[in-house]
Structure formats: C-alpha cells, structure tokens
C-alpha cells in the first residue's frame, strides 16, 4: 500500500472521536504508570485486556500502544525529581536529571525530557512507517555474535561513566555482572549463587537494585545531616521552570542521537530500552566537548537517554508488526492481545490488516502530540513537589519504593533485597564507588554472557566468529575506539600544551 494513501487512511481512523478518546486514555494511563516505580506497561496492559474485548481491535491497539510509549514519558518524572527510576529505562535519566534538579533546574530537566521524548517518539513512528520491512530483514541478520558485540559496546561505556577512579568503576561493574548472573543458568540448568533460596532462582530484579541503590542510597546519604530546608531548590518564575535557549541548543545533537540509537536498538528483539538509553548516553558523552561535566547535570545527559527510550518503542513495534516476533515484555503481551482479538500476528499481518497498521501509526503521531501537551504544563505542578520539606519527602520515597517493589512480584523477599541494596547504595556513595557502572553491569551481564555462549556454541568454540562477521566486527571496533577515545583527547591536550610551552 502506498505510504501516503496509507497514512491518510490512518489519520482518518486515528482522528475519529472514539479513537482519539482511547488514545488519550492510553497515554494518560501510561504516564501515570510510568511515574510509579515498579508498576509497568506489561502488567497494566494485561490488566486491561479483558476490557478490550468490547472494543474494535484498532481502538484497542491504539489505547494499549498509548500506554506503552506514555509510560516512557512518565518514567522520567520521578527519576529527575526524586532519583527514583520510574521504569528500568529511566535509570540513565537519573544521572544528569537528578543533578539538574539539585542545581535548581528541575523544570528545565523535565521540559527537556518531554521535548526529547516527543522528537524521538515521532522519529520512531516515522521509522516504523517508512523503513519497517527492510529494517526487519536487517534485524534478522543480527545473531548472537552481533548481540555480544553490542553488549561490549555497552560495557565500553563504563570507561566513559567512570569519573575519577577507573578501578572502582570497573569493580562496581563486575559486582553488577555478578548480580546479573544470579539465578538459573539458561544453558546448563545449574543454579548459580542462589544460596539455596527458591526466590533467587529468577535472579534479582533490576527494579529492586535500581531503586535501592539510587533512591534509597540517596535518601540515606542525605540523612547524614539534620539540616532543615527543602530538599532541592525550587526555581521561581515560569522562565526558570522551562528549559532556556542555551540548554535546548546544547541538546541539538542529543535529540538526533537518542532518536536514532533508540530506534535501531529497539528493532533488535531482546535488546531493550535500558541498553538503548545507556548507549545513547555514552555516545553523547563521547562526542561532547565537555565530557567531564556529564553526571553533574548537563541537559544533553537527559535528552539523549530520554529520547532513546522513547524511540525504542517505535523500534520494538517493527519486529512485532512485520514478523510477529515480540522483542520485549510489553510487545510479548501485545502479541498475546493480537491473538486474543483474532488477528494473526506474523509477516502477513500488515498486509491483512492495513487499516489497523496505519491507524496505529497515525495514532502514535497524535499520541506523541497529546503527551507533549499533557506533560509541559504539568511541569510547574510537579516541581512544586520539591517544595515539601525533606521529612515529608523522604518517608514518601521510602513508601513508594516499598510499594513499587512489592507490586512487581508480591514477594516480601524482594522488599528485603531492596533494603539490602539501599545499604549498598549508601556504602557506595560513602566509599566513592560510582553506581552507574553497577547498573550497567547488571543490565548487560545476562545478555552478554548469553550472547557469548550462544556464539561459541554456534561456532563450536571458534572465537573468530566474533570478528569474522562484518557487523559484529564493526561494533567491536567501535567499542575499542570508544575505550581509547579519552586517551586520544588526553594525548591531544598534552600535545597542545607542549606546543604552547615551546612557543
């Protein structure tokens, strides 16, 4: 079907009042769900599935998709204001977003997150619309060696996130890898590091670690002093509540970076939005003129990951709609939904249901606009949360963390783990170990080990499979380049200093 006519037909469907209503319901629900840590799109979509039987499949998918990408918008709110990641993908937003809030630029951070999400979300939909089928074919050529190279690329980011001590960052990353390995080993069915507990068989939930280390670690750290006053300075006046022109200009590249990287990584089944945000953050830092400022509150540090985790939604829909292959938890539930509604997900789904596909695509444009309009005016409202005194805010953070973690599995064991990781987070702050590499190791460890072992199984122990394939060779070289880039810069600076001294 011709793209233009398809799109026109799609808008005709998406702009029907009923579908507009469902789109709004979806994005609103998604934003709320994203703000709450622990509760995520997969559970929400599953809960709403019975309701969708009363609707037409097109309206239903419009609403459910709204929840999916709406949650990415909401996830940044608590990350920026409270250092509590609302969603696993929002962890990276905590790094610079929370620091911007501490400097009084909370409103600006929220605004940049919203704008980046809008731009990236739109790019994601564009990608879905224009290049879905050839991209899906390309994604199929990605196999375990390429995934391994991708993970290596992600881990190379450790060097960029290291800060002062590279040794401590690497140690933190190794601890993250260790935690990631806890549980049942997929290939050999041995239980590793479960300490005999049935609850450890599935490993430690990422949300538990992230909330414990970031949110609780931060709160505990702040409790050292009994100072009064508000937790974070609240900017006065509307002008200070929104990003200013310089900040927006600084984010120019980040907007593009986040959109493209997020979308491409989203297309790969199993990669995930957390990896996308890390890589886009790392790339942004690598090309920045002032990389040492990352982690202290630079706007591009918010724009890149926020954009990435939004366009990842568009990307994840590519394999789902063009091949019937779900790439993440949420897309797996959407797949089940398709089956329940009587649609047959697979390579011919778009051909068989053009109205649904184009209606969905058009509604995603509409949804992104709705979210931007929803989120921007809410920023002053959210920023008022910072006016609460610390002794009100901290109990709330404790409460939200506990409820959020408990809502994931309903198990008290997870709440214990939360307390333990809170202590770990505090100790890491005290002893000057950076938390970001730990999270990175946790996110990538599983996937990396799996990809490496799958690759070696495919090649029967031949390590060269990792470099003989073009794509993985390219990515591994990129990883190496990123690792030595800081050295180049140092060497360059040293060279310039030498020249200056001689002059």
């Amino acid at each position: 079907m011709d793209i233009i006519s398809g799109l026109l037909q799609g808008f005709a469907v998406a702009l029907q009042p009923l579908n507009l209503f469902w789109c709004f319901v979806g994005v609103l629900l998604g934003t709320v769900v994203g703000i709450l840590p622990g509760l995520g799109p997969p559970a929400t979509i599953a809960m709403l599935l019975p309701l969708t039987f009363q609707m037409s499949p097109t309206s239903a998918i419009i609403m459910l998709a709204g929840i999916y990408y709406g949650a990415k918008y909401g996830g940044s709110t608590t990350s920026i204001l409270l250092n509590v990641p609302g969603e696993s993908a929002s962890v990276v937003t905590c790094f610079d977003g929370y620091q911007m809030a501490r400097k009084g630029r909370a409103g600006a951070a929220l605004g940049i997150a919203a704008i980046a999400s809008f731009i990236a979300g739109t790019v994601g939909v564009l990608g879905l619309m224009l290049i879905a089928p050839p991209l899906a074919k390309f994604a199929l050529s990605f196999s375990s060696p390429e995934y391994f190279a991708l993970m290596c690329l992600g881990l190379a980011m450790v060097v960029l996130l290291a800060g002062k001590s590279l040794v401590k960052a690497l140690l933190a990353m190794l601890v993250g890898l260790w935690i990631a390995g806890m549980g049942i080993d997929l290939f050999s069915s041995t239980s590793r590091f479960t300490f005999g507990h049935m609850e450890m068989l599935d490993g430690v939930d990422f949300v538990v670690v992230a909330i414990g280390v970031f949110a609780l670690g931060e709160v505990l750290g702040n409790m050292e002093s009994r100072e009064e006053g508000q937790m974070l300075p609240v900017p006065k006046g509307l002008r200070n509540l929104l990003p200013n022109v310089e900040e927006l200009k600084a984010c120019r590249f980040a907007f593009v970076n986040g959109s493209v990287i997020g979308f491409l990584i989203g297309v790969l089944p199993g990669a995930g939005s957390t990896i996308a945000s890390f890589i886009s953050y790392g790339v942004e830092k690598a090309v920045s003129k002032h990389p040492e400022k990352f982690g202290t509150g630079v706007p591009e540090g918010v724009a890149a990951p926020e954009g990435a985790n939004n366009s990842e939604t568009g990307g994840a829909l590519v394999p789902l709609l063009t091949l019937g292959i779900p790439g993440s938890g949420t897309t797996a539930i959407l797949l089940a939904a398709f089956v329940l509604w009587g649609l047959k997900p697979g390579p011919l789904m778009i051909q068989d249901n053009p109205t649904l596909f184009w209606g969905l695509v058009a509604s995603m444009y509409v949804g992104n606009v709705m979210l931007l309009i929803l989120n921007l005016p809410l920023i002053p409202l959210f920023a008022q949360i910072l006016k609460l005194p610390v002794y009100v805010l901290y109990p709330i953070i404790f409460g939200i963390s506990i409820v959020g973690v408990y809502s994931v599995s309903g198990s008290l064991f997870d709440v214990w783990m939360l307390a333990a990781f809170g202590l770990l987070g505090y100790l890491m702050r005290k002893l000057d170990y950076p938390a970001a590499p730990l999270i990175l190791g946790l996110v990538l460890g599983d996937g990396m080990e799996r990809a490496l072992r799958q690759s070696l199984m495919m090649s029967q122990g031949d390590l060269s499979i990792l470099v003989s394939r073009p794509i993985s060779a390219v990515m591994l070289s990129l990883a190496v380049l990123i690792l030595i880039a800081p050295l180049f810069r140092k060497a360059n600076a040293w060279r310039i200093r030498m020249i200056d001294e001689q002059a």
Partner: protein, 324 residues
Amino acid sequence: MRTRIALMLMAGCAAAGASAVFAQGFQPSRPIEFVVHTGPGGGADVQARFIAAAMEKENLLPVRMQVNNKTGGGGLTAMAYLAEKKGETHVVAAFTGIWFTNPLMRAEARFTMKDLTPIVRLVLEPAMVAVKNDAPYKTLKDFIDAAKQSPGQLKQSGGSIGSRDWIVRQLLMKNTGANWAFISFPGGGERIAALLGGHVNMMVIEPQEAGEHIRAGNLRVVAQISEQRLPPFPNVPTLKEAGFDVHVPQVRGIIAPPGIPREVIAYWEGVFAKLVQTATWKKYLEDNLFADGFQRSAELNKFIDEYSETTRGILKEGGIKVVR
C-alpha cells in the same frame, strides 16, 4: 400388591433422591482462586482466563474464578504457594510440563506434584518441526541424515534445558544416533528470529506461530509432534508416521492444594468433565490446535508417575543433574 410396588418405587425414588443430595456434597461458596505460574499474557495465564470465562458462559460454577499470577522459579513459586494452602477447597492451579521437570532439576524446589492434589489432565499440546524455506531438508529424515553426516554441526534453537524442545532433541538423537547442537534462547521471538536469519537449522515451534510464517513462505514444516495429523497440516507426517517412535506429550491440566477431601476432588473432576464436553471447549481446542487429553485424577496420578520417571531418565542421559 400394587401398594407394595408403589411403596418400593417410592422408596427407590427416595433413595435416588437421597443419594443425589449426598452427591451434591461440596459446592463452592466464594470466588475460586485460579493460580497460574506465568505472568499476564503467558500461556498458562491465557488458558486460565479462557477457562474462567468459559465456566461463566456455560454456567458450570455457582461462583466466579479469579486468576492469580504467581510467577517465579519456573513454576516453583506457584507450587510452593499451592502447597502452603493445605486443605483449601477454593483454590486450583493450572499446571504445564515444567511442573514435572523443574522439581527434578532444582534442589531449591520444596515441593513436587506428588505433594499436591492432581485433579484432571485437560489437553495435549502438539508442536511442529520447522526449517527455513530454502533449507535442503524436505523431510525430518533429511535433516537427521544430514546431522549424521556432520555430527554437531547442525543447530536447533530452543528453550532451556528440560523444556520440551530439548526433550524432543534428546529422544530423537537417542533414537537415531545423530547428533546436533542445541542453542537456548530465552524468548520464543528470538528463537524464530534465529531460524529465519539462518543462524540455526531447525526448531520445534508451536503450530499457531508456524501457521503464519508458512503462509508468508518463510518456513517449512517437516514433521508434527502429535498423535494424529492436525487439520491445518494434512500433508505433514507425524513423528510416528515419519518412522520415529518418539512420544513427547506436552500436557496441561488442573491441580489443587494438598489435603482436600475426596468429595471436593470428585466435584472438580465433574465440573471439568462437563467443561470438556461443551461446544465452547471444542472450539477452543480447534482454534488453538490442542488435542483433547482428558484424564481424571486416578489416571492422571498414574501418568504423573510414569512421565516423571521417563523425564528423569531423559535428563540423566542428557547429562543433567537430577536431584530427586
């Protein structure tokens, strides 16, 4: 004379009425908790929700059924949860194949199916052996022969060790003496992607998923893992017809907590026996390409013993540590 016959008839009716009253026995009085071990949207969850809806539609229960997701540990969390509800008559759970295999492999498991009360077996799930459309294997025998010629070179994508795909591989390899690699992928999507991308040669796939890819011309199915040919695949031989005497039943059924009275078991058996007779259920089997495998608790208990023994043997032969 007639009065005596009439009296006897009345006595007979009274006795019949009385036994009917006694057979009434257990009736649920509050909503039934239906435990599943997958998250929302997972196989067991979808089936449980369907059963709950079908029960309402066919008026088979005086109360509602509410699905409760207890994920974790590959079914172990759900099993432990059920075991702790000893004597509870208003709880049931849906079991699948991993309830058999996981406790055999995991030392952390505290309970097995024998610690619970199996109620009925409902369905058998068939599967298909699929290869890429441009592969040189027209039949399963072609694939096995190719594997024999280059042992360990061909690859199958599948789930974890102990899953049905793995068991199929073990049995086929033992049966034919061939040898090929098994590469685990955690998600169904990734397994299909690996096959479509040409990174593996074969996989065991569910008939629903296979259907769409066949229609699109990407995959070819060379054998069915089923007792009889499935209607949408009339030209594909079953394993037995293809010459491989290998049976790998993938079962689903209902199980209840330990320590419930005999009459409650009988009640549930009765309800589910009625369910599988309904047109709604028959359509469900057709739509999902399940085979009816209804067994009441006595038969089911025997099946559990036999199947666990068989699985134990397969695991040991495959070099997997078995802990009970």
